[in-house]
């Protein structure tokens, strides 16, 4: 297993921080294919309008994917024990997302030291799109 930079973590450490390029229609089209989520809501403006939305909007799982990327920039993928999010608000086209995370608790479970990490994804206006949590083995 790769070394885990969180080994010497303390509560309050803000070790996850990454900003992503604006979400374009092209990104949503690529994600539709790459993820297998072919829901037309995210790529077909006619479908979105018929459903009562002004335009297509991002897959929640694309935003969670960015949050996951910010997380595994900081810790090895195999150190993640769990990862959960709540989708607080729709992420619009053009949103520039910043994903952040901070340690909220250090504890032991199943014979290993673990950190609880609070996660957020916000757009360029500071609106929270996702709130989440990860449990990381140290």
């Amino acid at each position: 297993m790769g070394s885990n930079p969180l080994k010497s973590a303390a509560v309050g450490d803000r070790f996850v921080h990454k900003t992503f390029p604006p979400i374009s229609r092209h990104t949503l089209a690529l994600y539709c294919g790459a993820s297998g989520d072919h829901n037309p809501m995210h790529v077909d403006i006619d479908f979105a309008k018929k459903a009562g939305f002004p335009d297509v909007f991002s897959h929640g799982m694309l935003v969670m994917g960015y949050l996951g990327q910010a997380l595994t920039d900081a810790v090895p993928p195999n150190a993640i024990r769990s990862f959960s999010t709540r989708f607080n608000a729709i992420t619009q086209l053009g949103a520039t997302l910043t994903c952040e995370g901070a340690v909220t608790e250090l504890f032991e479970d199943s014979g290993e030291k673990r950190a609880r990490v609070a996660l957020t994804a916000k757009d360029e206006n500071g609106e929270i799109k996702l709130t989440g949590e990860a449990i990381i083995a140290l």
């Binding site: 690529l30 994600y31 297998g36 709540r86 989708f87």
Partner: protein, 147 residues
């Protein structure tokens, strides 16, 4: 309208292969540059049995290889135009790497009305096993239906 009688309903299992080429497409889409994912020798050097998958990729594998990716909605008579993703959870038990073949078995875990019935939250729990029969992960997604 979906109600608590749906709890316990199960769906056709999905068998999915973790393929390097499809995973590369996912990485290109998210502009993932982490050598752990992009360079097999870097993954090996870091002690991995193979190239690991990113944390949300299980969700994609199940949809990509399902013969009916919207079976949950069809079986529960939910209109695709009226759903949003409410919550998503992953619990990882055993590392998953490129080359693995996974089986996803999903069931309705809960159905809860909110906002006086304006919204219904349907939770779908999925058990993921690998080609050795090992229980590698669990996922839980909550679908929000705008009634």
């Amino acid at each position: 309208m979906v109600d608590k009688s749906a709890i316990g309903v199960t769906f056709v299992p999905t068998h999915a292969q973790v393929e390097a080429g499809r995973l590369r497409y996912f990485f290109e889409t998210l502009r993932e540059r982490n050598p752990i994912y992009r360079d097999a020798s870097a993954a090996k050097a870091a002690g991995y049995a193979g190239v690991p998958i990113p944390p949300t990729y299980l969700f994609c594998l199940e949809m990509m290889d399902s013969e009916k990716p919207f079976e949950v909605l069809e079986k529960l008579d939910i209109d695709l135009a009226r759903v949003l993703h409410g919550e998503q959870r992953f619990d990882y038990h055993i590392p998953i790497v490129v080359g693995d073949t996974l089986t996803f078995q999903s069931r309705v875990a809960d159905v809860v009305d909110k906002k006086g019935g304006a919204l219904t939250f349907v939770s779908v729990a999925t058990k993921v096993t690998n080609q050795h029969g090992q229980h590698v992960a669990d996922t839980l997604r909550s679908i929000v239906v705008r009634n």
